[in-house]
Symmetry: C2
Subunit: 582 residues, 2 copies
């Protein structure tokens, strides 16, 4: 037997008990006549004591040879600790060791196994199995498990069935790039790994499964931006005989349940906002509404004066920065430099200090008087003591720039509080978006998203204006889920494919099975998918998904621990009927 | 709103209510003045009634045009049914329809959507979304979900953490063939899809996660035998600081819990049997012990007479077939033909009728007297009325043949009862097995399995005799799980690789990261994996896993519904730096 208790279990009520513990040596303090060892396992840390006077000689000697991360088993007696440690669950006791077995030795680890480690990112990735021993990573993985279990139990109780869809599917050209898998048994042919189980969940609805969910890996062979993984996990859901309202209600319920159970945070009804409103008010389709700083459009009050920069701009728009009127000239100049960085791309920034005494001081005092600036303050909802930051230019671009500034300032002002949760539904997304590169419209969500009935007539004339029955769930400025009511009419689906630039043949080759299925009584249906990695990170109060993935890949899509991908031998290639083409 | 209730919800207590239902038209009975429609959804069937006298004209007309599998929404009143149907939950009521909306029409389905369908296997696979509408398939998928949820909740309550391991990993040459995935970002290199998360779960143990599980897809590019799928699902588990006994207890607990919760069957402690005993007693390492028919070895009592066939055989072994003494000569001849089929491969069969009067009649009366045959009866535990079937030849081969006969006879005799459950642990598997093709030893379980300490000295001299700390959980003649205590000592692992024919370089290239990890304090650990597809099928009282998979592949690894795998275009190949080599 390796242990009678875990290293997190013993309390003062166990004093006098004979126990057995196993675990890792976290720390050794050797005072010569007395040796203390912190023994660690998943459940906690227990202090061991080896006393020259009370410990058998060979045991004491063995303790002298212990190193960090050795794996040991000890037998001993639970005794009261002299210097109690209130920060430790087991801090009232220690173990007077009578017997020790070294189960395994350890080289000195390449970084310290402490909450704050001295290891850099790459090193921690390479030795991920050591990194996982650290509390922050270990706790993240346990947290992720807890969230997954809550999701499953909640949906299962709501009559959803988890159904496993296949991983070896068919390559489709739409959207991001597929990972493909050559088939040995079907020479020259390839499976694809799913970017999502989208078509399968729709087929399950055609199959009458009514309420489906799955926590499932998805794959995208995209160039990796920061904090993207080539494989990622979705909570994928679909329902039949529902309207948008039904879906929003169910998944609002799920999210509220998670916030309650996981974070002990009670959230009332989620606000809703149209895509257009979100863009106008926050310059962003996933606004962080934990804080205000709403956009105020200033075209009416700022144009038609002598300031040409504004007069020529499609949009003049500002935000009020709480307490910003006290910024020094230097601080403001830095802010202007910040918005001019290529990543943001503004050409400049106009600012107005709304002084505590009610007066205004702006960078454009030459063109605007106090009355003008008061109107600006009203439009941006500024209060005395605020700083109004104003950008101008083409509408979409300028909104994006001001959104970036808004987020940056909120971050600096500490308004993005990890323990606060502000969920939001963004609805009525555009059906299509124009792609400059291919010079055609793409489905913003995916090609199965239904247009709003009242907008269908615009498909031919103003396709960019057609709104979709599509929605995103936004939490603290992150899109954590998105979905849509699907097209369930074969004819409308065919029309959509046409508008997306598919020939009839291409549509048939790629989605023929779905269109076939729609001939046999497809029910109205819709669904949603959550990004589990991101959801877990946000619930965990962090921004980086990598810390919530047991074995993440780096930005080149490599697993540096196992050194994958790697080359495979010629025989294997031959069997797969492929060769390299470098 | 598409529905106020599901099609399985309404009872006599709802009589008089105005309700809305949506679903599929299962059946239409048009009597001219009266039309009955069975409306189906996932939850059940509700009868609709359209009455020329009571139903609005246009609604009645619409009902006349309904076809099978049309999707409709109806509003109406719950009324008492005249001819009640006790076989239906909703059989006491019907809906007098006042309004109907045809949500979608349907072509006539290619097979009937009934419990017993007229569709063949390939047709059902091609239109799997229609097959799923049928109760047997639908219920199997719901059953699978229920089993998965029970597994997760049980293990989670037992402190196991579900941790997602990566799908894009590194190709290893050991065992069955890997599916590989060319990497676009790492030219000329490939990921592999995991055959199991074996090394990752061991790394999680090194990482101190202590108790891990995962319900996870695994992939094997093997030639598909009947009822094998290229992608399959495992319940994968691993524990640290455990001995074999701990693992058997935990997973015996899980299995017992499933049998109780899912099948309402209470099972006492699982019997255990060594591999050698299973082979000697049942000729099989996964014996079905729902019935007896144990092997009786007859060498001692049947050899050294004048019957040369037996005298020259390494093994003479028989089983007693309950009630078999009444078989006619013709029936027995057929049995002999059956064992001579190439799939079984026996050269012949000797039989002894143990007559009800206590006398014996055998096919070898020329060589053996009644006293001899009585001894045979004792050895095979035969009773008056039984038939003893005896095979002889090389020991291993003969055992396999007699095992096949035993299973066949049990099937014919109805002894393999789907509602009976006989679990069994088979332990002490051999560590290595000789492979004729490669002329070397292979790991029977996998290269990380630990040998029994007391057998290690045999590794050099009689490797085939070394027993492993490896175990299988057998249920009703099927291996549903298997595992082992792992090697956690780097030196022993290196020795094992050597015995498995790996050069040091090969071992380093393939498993270097695991051996590296073992240098940093690997704890003793072990685990087990269940085959979920098979487990679910057996708990569901069926033998075919395909019926418990939403979208299975056929025997050529093809998904005939979506037509995958398929060819991909040249541009895609070029991006992946590969070309076809047909």
């Amino acid at each position: 037997m390796y242990r009678s208790h875990t290293c997190g279990a013993l309390r003062s009520e166990h004093i006098g008990n004979q126990i057995t513990l196993s675990g890792w040596v976290q720390k050794v303090r050797d005072k010569g006549f007395m040796i203390w060892v912190d023994l660690r396992d998943r459940y906690g840390i227990t202090q061991l004591i080896f006393d020259e006077n009370r410990t058998p000689k060979d045991v004491f000697k063995a303790a002298q040879d212990l190193g960090r991360e050795f794996v040991i088993k000890v037998e001993g007696t639970v005794i009261e600790r002299e210097a109690k440690n209130p920060n430790l669950n087991t801090g009232d006791i220690e173990i007077l060791v009578s017997n020790i077995t070294v189960l395994n030795s350890s080289l000195t680890p390449p970084f310290t196994i402490e909450n704050d480690t001295d290891g850099g990112d790459e090193l921690r990735m390479k030795y991920r199995y050591l990194d996982i021993r650290r509390n922050p990573v270990k706790n993240n993985l346990i947290f992720r498990h807890k969230v997954s279990m809550e999701v499953r139990n909640y949906l299962s109780k709501a009559d959803f069935i988890e159904i496993e869809t296949p991983y070896l599917i068919k390559s489709t050209p739409e959207g991001a790039r597929d990972f493909v898998v050559p088939s040995r048994m079907n020479e020259g042919q390839f499976y694809a790994l799913p970017q999502s189980p989208q078509t399968f969940k729709q087929l399950l609805m055609v199959g009458g499964m009514d309420k489906y969910f799955q926590i499932v890996k998805c794959f995208r062979d995209e160039d990796l931006r920061a904090d993207r993984q080539p494989e990622f996990t979705q909570i994928d859901c679909e329902m039949a005989f529902v309207e948008q309202e039904d879906i929003l209600n169910i998944f609002e319920g799920l999210t509220r349940h998670l916030l309650q159970e996981i974070n002990n945070v009670t959230v009332s009804e989620f606000p809703r906002m149209t895509y257009n409103e979100a863009m106008r008010t926050y310059g962003n389709d996933k606004p962080d509404i934990r804080f205000d700083m709403k956009f105020g459009e200033l075209n009416q009050v700022a144009q038609h004066k002598d300031f040409n920069v504004f007069n020529q701009a499609e949009l003049v728009v500002g935000i009020a920065v709480p307490g910003g009127s006290s910024y020094t000239r230097k601080e403001i100049d830095k802010l202007i430099d910040w918005v001019k960085r290529p990543q943001v791309g503004a050409l400049g920034m106009v600012y107005v200090k709304y002084n505590e005494d009610g007066s205004f001081k702006s960078s454009v005092d030459k063109f605007y008087d106090q009355e003008d600036l008061k109107q600006w303050a009203q439009a941006t909802n500024a209060k005395p003591g605020d700083l109004i930051c104003i950008l101008s230019g083409p509408a979409d671009k300028t909104r994006g720039q001001l959104s970036a500034l808004r987020m940056e300032l909120a971050e600096r002002l500490g308004l993005r509080k990890a323990e606060e949760f502000a969920p939001l539904w963004v609805v009525d997304f555009p059906l299509l978006e124009w792609d400059e590169e291919t010079q055609r419209y793409h489905a913003m969500h995916h090609p199965f998203t239904s247009p709003k009935t009242e907008d269908i007539h615009l498909l031919e004339t103003e396709p960019g204006k057609v709104r979709a029955n599509a929605y995103d769930l936004v939490l603290n400025g992150n899109e954590i889920g998105g979905g849509s009511i699907r097209i369930f009419d074969k004819q409308l689906q065919a029309t959509m494919f046409k508008h997306l630039g598919f020939t009839e043949e291409e549509a048939k080759a790629q989605f023929g099975f779905l269109m076939d299925a729609f001939q046999y009584g497809a029910p109205p249906h819709g669904g949603l998918a959550f990004g589990l990695d991101r959801l877990v990170a946000i619930l965990g109060g962090q921004e980086t998904i990598r810390d919530f993935i047991a074995f993440p890949k780096n930005n080149s899509g490599r697993d540096v621990m196992i050194d994958a991908p790697s080359s495979i031998d010629k025989e294997q290639l031959k069997e797969l009927s492929i060769k390299l083409d470098l």
